[in-house]
């Protein structure tokens, strides 16, 4: 009898855990879909909020915070004035740092760090370019070391050079090989799960076209 009770109880607990995990993945998938198809500030903010809630509830998953940070960077490009852009970027930094604490030395999180710095520079490139560009490139370099197969580190390094004027050491010619390498890595990139980062390929292709024109 006792055995039966124990078995049932174990079964229920396992079911619960399994259900929770399944629910996590399902919710993440849904939210990623919301984010990927977002065309407005509203949907991006909804996705950002949802990711942050998931992150707070789960406590040990880096992906929700990482995606939430990604949403805030995108929001920063949509809002005005500059001070509000900065507040959104600050929020993105905070969230990405939370992700970094949960999963240290994660190549994707380092790409996000660079991506955030890039957004920060774009607000006032003339003033901030000198200050943040080295740090930004450093993040992409570190991301490459942590995972040489991560296509996004090559992509954003390339985009950075594409946007940097030639007199500062950037330019199309320098950007192109990196972008092409990113595409190469995208082709062979092995996705760890349905909810792991899988973005940027389209942007890489678009930037390559711009480089060649």
């Amino acid at each position: 009898m006792n055995k039966i009770v124990v078995t049932i109880l174990l079964h229920i607990i396992c079911m619960g855990l399994f259900a929770q995990d399944k629910q996590y993945i399902e919710t993440m998938k849904e939210t990623i879909a919301t984010m990927d198809t977002a065309t407005s500030f509203k949907t991006l903010q909804q996705a950002a909020n949802q990711f942050e809630r998931i992150g707070d509830a789960m406590q040990n998953q880096w992906l929700p915070y990482y995606y939430s940070a990604y949403c805030y960077v995108q929001i920063s490009y949509l809002v005005k004035p500059d001070q509000l852009k900065d507040l959104n970027i600050e929020k993105a930094e905070e969230l990405n740092n939370s992700a970094d604490k949960i999963s240290p030395d994660n190549s994707e999180i380092y790409v996000m760090k660079g991506f955030i710095l890039q957004a920060k520079m774009n607000i006032d490139p003339m003033t901030r370019g000198f200050k943040y560009n080295r740090e930004c490139l450093g993040m992409f370099e570190k991301a490459k070391v942590l995972d040489p197969e991560n296509p996004r580190s090559y992509l954003w390094h390339g985009v950075n050079l594409f946007n940097t004027p030639a007199f500062m050491g950037g330019g199309k010619e320098k950007a192109l090989p990196l972008l092409e390498k990113a595409i190469e890595k995208f082709e062979t990139f092995h996705l760890k799960s349905d909810i792991h980062p899988d973005w940027g390929k389209e942007y890489a292709e678009k930037t390559i076209i711009k480089c060649k024109n």
């Binding site: 996590y24 903010q45 001070q83 900065d86 000198f130 007199f167």
Partner: protein, 705 residues
Amino acid sequence: MKNFFIISILIFYYSFSVYCQKVEIAGKVTDETGEPLIFASVALKGSIDGTTANEKGEFSFLTTVKGQQTLVGSYIGYQSCIKDIFIEEENIYVDLILTSKITQFQEVIITAGSFEASDVKRAVVLRSRDIGTTAGATGDITKAIETLPGVQTVGESNGLFVRGGSGSESKVFIDEMVVQNPYYSPVPDVKMRGRFDPFMFSGTVFSTGGYSALYGQALSSILSLKSHSLADSTNTGGGIHAYGTNLFHVHRCENTSIYLKGEYNNLTPYNNTFKQITEWEKSPENIGITLNFRHKISKNDMFKFYANYSRTELSMKYNNIDSINRESLFELKNNDLYINSTYKKYFNEEKWSVFIGTSYSKDIDDAYIDSTNMSEHEELGQGKIIITNSSLPGMTFFSGTEIQFKNVVGKEGLLTGEINDIYTAGFLEGNWAVTSNIGVRLGLRYEYSDFLKEWNIAPRLSMAYKTGKYSQVSFAYGKFYQTPENEFLYYNHNLDFENSIHYIVNYQLMKDKRILRIELYDKEYRSLIRNIPGQDKAFNNQGSGYARGIDIFWRDEKTISNADYWISYSFLDTKREYRDYPIPAAPDFVSKHNVTVVYKHWISKISSNVGFTYSYSSGRPYYNPQRPDSEFHKDITPAYNNLSFNISKMLRIFGRSSVIYISMDNVLGEDHIFGYYYLPDNAGRIPIRPSGIRSFFVGCFISTY
């Protein structure tokens, strides 16, 4: 037993269904004023349940969670609102009211009298790089500041002339420490550059009046420069330009950076190429060494050390109506040393901070006029301590003391004057954000001069009120004291501080990269130095005066793409009865109307920044001895028109980022006359002119970046 098992399963399913019964939680998220916070986040702590508010700030969501729970509302720039709720079976309605964190961009900032140039996030009137890129400024901080309203362009004397104040009424501070000799030593009728490289600083506060109790000993204005913290990266660079050459190296380690710069300037080739009005016997030649050391001891404290040594030599002939030849030879050898070291530490989650600063300067001017010794040796040691507390929400207090030891020895032929002063001051100031719309700053400063044997208490008060999302009105009042200039103190020991009272009302509108500032001011001068008639080198404090006017500033970075321009206009009405003025009159360094237009355009095709600066000043009064005393300063010089042009091209030289810089001052070749010297016996007059009609600057700067 079997029954028990079935019952327990039934109970389990029953409770599970109860558990699954969903409850709706709804409400509205607003700020303190009831404004909805659109798309705010609402979450049940510890669960994934929650939602995003809609366009009206309203939210609703379903949850299966039961019991004592915490509902959290959050929004960017606001403090999260946390509400405890108890979830049973009924739906819950709860409003969440969030308070705004006083983030820098919403905070009311007192703008009366002050212009801030910095790289911080907050919206500012000027950015640090503006100083380096303004046409006509050629990298001189003072000249860039002269494009702001309230500042008079005075082409023949050192210093910032602010709102009817003379150049000596403005003081320069580096990291809160006063700089005794911020400009190259004065030369008759020639304006000298500032000694400091504008790229050393990340923040500049220029105040045209009503400034904080932190600053004293300036009747009109202060210019406070904040040096960089750690250098961004290791870098080597240098430049060669029309006046000389320089070389620098910065080394950056994890928490330390060292900067070393050497420069050599010699104007001989330039003065030989371009015809000069001034007759140079020996064109200015100068060497300078700068050392900068920064160490971040921990996350919360920073040590800065800065030292600059420079040596300048020159000699020239100048108009001297007192001399028999009506011309004198002026020779100068200057050695100047300036050391500044500061330490700042934050405690208790940055709620407390301590600042300790010391500085030392020694300036030796060995000057001769036709071999008459006119030397001046100045030495100043300074210490300052500031303690800041911001543990109360919306409030910041600071208090501190400072001490200055000053020794000056001045020669005039066989006469020697000496000043030994110990100056002490204490100050206390509080900043209070009363509401998110109202800010108040109240300060008090106490000063004592051992040389004058006089003390004073100077109150300072400013207020700001946000009249709208983008606009605000501020008001400032303050009393300011200054020890009279050295020349009056050498032979008089019974003088008192000179003083001034400022009243300023300011309106500022800042929206979408456009700024409009209008400022009205009234300044009363009291206890100014006055010559005692009939006695040589005898003075009292019975002078007085006033200055009032309006300053208007408009900057627009939006209308024309890739371009940025600003326009400054100042109207000034001022009179003084001081020094040897027989009647109250406008001083010879002021003009009634001043207009400056600065335009900058970035042309990405040629990766160049092109700009011009146009300044106009209506004529200035001058002394005409042929008029009776009752018509003192009645005559006015011709108006001053100056158009400067500059172009800076960014490029790569040897694969390194470089800038080629070309600028030209007074492109139209206008004849600038600052005043006249009248010769005795109606023998005519000699106009005072700048050292050259036009001035050029060409330079190339390379860094390893």
